[in-house]
Amino acid sequence: EAGVAQSPRYKIIEKRQSVAFWCNPISGHATLYWYQQILGQGPKLLIQFQNNGVVDDSQLPKDRFSAERLKGVDSTLKIQPAKLEDSAVYLCASSYLAGGPNEQYFGPGTRLTVT
């Protein structure tokens, strides 16, 4: 079974520039999550999709971050404009079910450095 795919793996941009990350979840997984992991900390949920609908985006800084999952499969996360404090690893995860605790499968992440 193929895992969660993410690209790019690394990205370096200057502050105020824009950046986009892509995620392809495990086939058949209805729920997709984007997490932000700052160095030395645990992942923090940014947004959760079930199919192509947003379930929870309460922790997403909506003035600069946006995410979509148009066809209920792949997803993109965008930051525009980036700030220095956005430097982090952005993790995508997916799970088969929703509405209750179940195993989330994580991708390798995209390491973003904002200079």
């Binding site: 645990g42 992942p43 993790l91 499968y105 991708g107």
Partner: protein, 111 residues
């Protein structure tokens, strides 16, 4: 507020010894807990989970203990191997399918 924390940021263990990683949680409503392993350059990987109606669960070389009275969770790794070197996160599920991660403990294996 909701939080999951760890007592030690770094733990060094001799190869072959047992490792014990501790975690404190604060949300008494949490009824499901997970331990994740994160190796360098990779995403977190599920190790073992436990529900609040249990106080112990065993897997292959790993055991999770849950003490709801003091809101404490621990992960025991038997016969620690070099491949166990990683950052370990405990996480709690306060409701629905939300997972809240703690800050992590780095496990360092000494030869």
């Amino acid at each position: 507020g909701e939080s999951v924390g760890l007592h030690l940021p770094t733990l060094s263990v001799q190869e072959g010894d047992n490792s014990i990683i501790n975690c404190a949680y604060s949300n008494s409503a949490s009824d499901y807990f997970i331990w994740y392993k994160q190796e360098s350059g990779k995403g977190p990987q599920f190790i073992i989970d436990i529900r609040s109606n249990m106080d112990k669960r065993q897997g292959q070389r790993v055991t999770v203990l849950l003490n709801k009275t003091v809101k404490h969770l621990s992960l025991q790794i038997a016969a620690t191997q070099p491949g166990d070197s990683a950052v370990y996160f405990c996480a709690e599920n306060p409701h629905d399918d939300k997972i809240i991660f703690g800050k992590g403990t780095r496990l360092h294996i000494l030869p």
